[in-house]
């Protein structure tokens, strides 16, 4: 960087910017879009794309298998409301565990937050943008396979009635997907926002989701079929809570949680409490996370 070089360059002069400026809401939207791209590794190096792209491919695999099955005259291989439950649970845990830290821990680590907060954004705007981005990313991860499942099925369906039946079955599935996206994003971000070290954050998110899921399955298994314990065992893990709420809202496919029966409302309350707690933690975290 010779002084001469800069000397020559600066002779071109400084230009004022007289154009329009975006309002705060549009800046938040820009940050959301930027973060959504980052959630799939877009605008980052090739390494950042490995996990999201392979996770997306694996999530779509059952739907693609279904397309072949249906084309050979078989019935639809997976229900819309649970999809392939083990695949969806494992892949989504991995996706959130890797991508939530990508969205928040990275900024903590590089201490870039003061630069955001020194701009028109307000404190609360940052977690809102990050949540919207990760929830949208999760939505894409969950819903696109359902749409592939739907497309593969109706491609071989005969008659409007069959297509309509598929569509009616799909819609509750999409609603379940929305619940998944919101829940996983808010809990994943709340945990990840505590560490600037991505490895720690990823570990913490993965351990929380996997351990609680294992605990729920143990509780359900120990209690035995049809007991109250089995029905309530699912309350300890966000993923089984999501399944309990699905059943409570009328989902009929068998899922990881045995029929919740009259305890469905407990799952509903638990889901709201978990999401509320996640949001509160996230908000408090960014109210505090100062310039330091």
């Amino acid at each position: 960087m010779s002084a001469d070089a800069t000397g020559v360059i600066h002779d071109l002069g400084y230009q004022r910017y007289d154009g329009g400026r975006l309002g705060r809401a549009q800046i938040v939207r820009t940050l959301t879009a930027y973060s959504l791209r980052a959630a799939f590794g877009l605008g980052r190096g090739a390494k950042a794309k490995i996990v999201p792209v392979s996770a997306f491919a694996l999530m779509c695999a059952p739907a693609i298998v279904n397309a072949f099955v249906v084309a050979r005259g078989g019935a639809r291989a997976f229900p819309y409301d649970t999809y392939s439950a083990p695949v969806r649970m494992i892949i989504m845990i991995i996706f959130v565990a890797v991508q939530a830290p990508e969205l928040v821990s990275r900024d903590l680590r590089s201490r870039v937050l003061p630069l955001y907060f020194a701009r028109p954004l307000r404190r609360g705007d940052y977690p809102v943008a990050k949540f919207t981005a990760l929830a949208t990313a999760c939505l894409i991860m969950v819903e696109v396979p359902l749409l592939v499942l739907y497309a593969g099925t109706i491609a071989s369906a005969h008659g409007g009635g069959a297509v309509w039946a598929q569509t009616r079955a799909l819609l509750p599935g999409l609603a379940v997907g929305l619940m998944w996206a919101v829940t996983l994003a808010v809990i994943g971000l709340a945990i990840a926002s505590f560490s600037g070290r991505r490895a720690y954050a990823t570990g913490a998110v993965a351990i929380y989701f996997f351990l609680s899921l294992a605990l729920a399955e143990v509780l359900i298994g120990v209690a035995g079929d049809g007991t109250t314990g089995a029905r309530l065992g699912g309350l300890v893990s966000p993923l089984t809570v999501l399944d309990g709420v699905r059943q409570w809202l009328g989902g009929t496919s068998p899922g990881p949680v045995p029929a919740v029966g009259s305890y469905g409302a407990a799952y509903g309350v638990m889901l709201l409490a978990a999401c509320g707690a996640g949001a509160a933690v996230l908000a408090a975290r960014y109210r505090k996370a100062g310039l330091a």
């Binding site: 400084y14 154009g19 329009g20 400026r21 549009q26 590089s110 870039v112 003061p114 028109p120 809102v128």
Partner: protein
């Protein structure tokens, strides 16, 4: 996203309507006090006005410089007192202030895994610039700080000096009316410091952007500032233009081989204020006649004159002198540039 107006909703450029045309100060604080939990006083009734141009904010580490900057950006609430930036209230209009102010923090703030262009473009967009304009201004800013060639490299591969330039570029990208630079020469080698200071001087002089530079290195920022604000323990030590500092800091060094004490007495009788400094006397300049008075006094006493030369106090001495109670000996010789400002004991 609540509060979103439909359409493009491109707001009026902030410069088109200055916050208050009658307001001559880029920043202004009144009895500003900030207490941190645990009875730590970061700012203690600081009242200061800063006019456009380049202003040095000097003080030792912990004097309250960074706290002041955070309050000015609306990131911290003052415990008491008021602060205004560009005529806007720091608590009420924080969002508008932040759209008009560029901030370069003291610490590292760059993600290593993006290119300088991507990072500065993103930060320009976060300042409210539309996508195309952000891209253009990011390229411009990086060119101004001398990173044109390297702008497509990942920031993690940059040297400390280049990283400091990226930090400056992101502050510049939003076309601010005021730049707040917190220790911009931190971690730089002497050549890097020189280049950074030159850049800041150019931003102030040629770009027409007011700059507040916080630093604990007085000798360094006095080279580029129009105005100096010295803070210590959260209080204002002194605020004045560099010119008045320099004027008041002209001194003559007089050395006589014998009879230093008699000469001092004679000069005192002539209305001058000589102070013993090493083997000689330091006499503050009081107009052009001072030299003549000294010459006549030396001749009148018949003393052998060894040396008579003009000297400039370094500014840190001025700051130090201020609070020293009268009668206390002050025999500090000029210190070299770059000496850190330290607390007055």
């Amino acid at each position: 996203m609540a509060g979103q107006s439909p359409g493009t909703a491109v707001a009026k450029p902030p410069h088109a309507q200055p916050a208050d045309p009658g307001d001559a100060f880029v920043l202004e604080t009144t009895a500003l006090t900030k207490l941190y939990p645990g009875r730590v006083t970061a700012l203690d009734g600081l009242t200061v006005q800063v006019t456009p141009g380049i202003t040095g904010l000097v003080g030792a580490n912990g004097a309250g410089k960074s706290t002041l900057i955070k309050i000015l950006l609306g990131l911290l609430e003052p415990t008491r007192g008021r602060a205004r930036v560009l005529g806007l209230d720091c608590q009420r209009d924080a969002s508008r202030i932040r759209a008009l102010v560029g901030y370069m923090p003291e610490h590292d703030c760059l993600p290593p895994d993006v290119t300088a262009t991507e990072f500065v473009t993103h930060m320009a967009r976060m300042s409210g610039l539309p996508a195309v304009a952000a891209k253009e201004r990011a390229a411009e800013s990086l060119r101004h700080v001398g990173l044109h060639e390297e702008r497509y490299r990942q920031v993690g591969t940059y040297s400390t000096g280049m990283k400091q330039r990226v930090k400056l570029a992101q502050a510049l990208a939003g076309d601010p009316r005021l730049l707040l630079l917190d220790e911009p020469t931190n971690g730089l080698d002497p050549a890097g410091r020189g280049a950074m200071l030159e850049l800041i001087a150019r931003i102030g002089a040629e770009f027409g952007i007011s700059v507040v530079v916080a630093s604990h290195l007085l000798g360094e920022i006095e080279q580029i500032c129009d105005h100096l604000v010295a803070v210590e323990a959260g209080r204002l030590l002194r605020s004045d233009t560099i010119r008045s500092f320099t004027q008041s800091s002209q001194v003559l060094l007089v050395e006589v081989e014998t009879g230093t004490a008699e000469l001092a007495d004679a000069l005192r009788c002539d209305g001058l204020d000589p102070r013993l400094s090493g083997r000689g006397l330091l006499v503050p300049m009081d107009g052009d006649m001072t030299c003549d008075v000294i010459r006549d006094a030396v001749a009148g006493l018949g003393l052998p004159l060894a040396r008579l030369e003009q000297r400039r106090h370094r500014l840190e001495e001025i700051f130090r002198d201020e609070p020293v109670p009268a009668g206390q000996p002050n025999t500090r010789a000029s210190t070299r540039a770059g000496t850190e400002v330290s607390h007055v004991s």
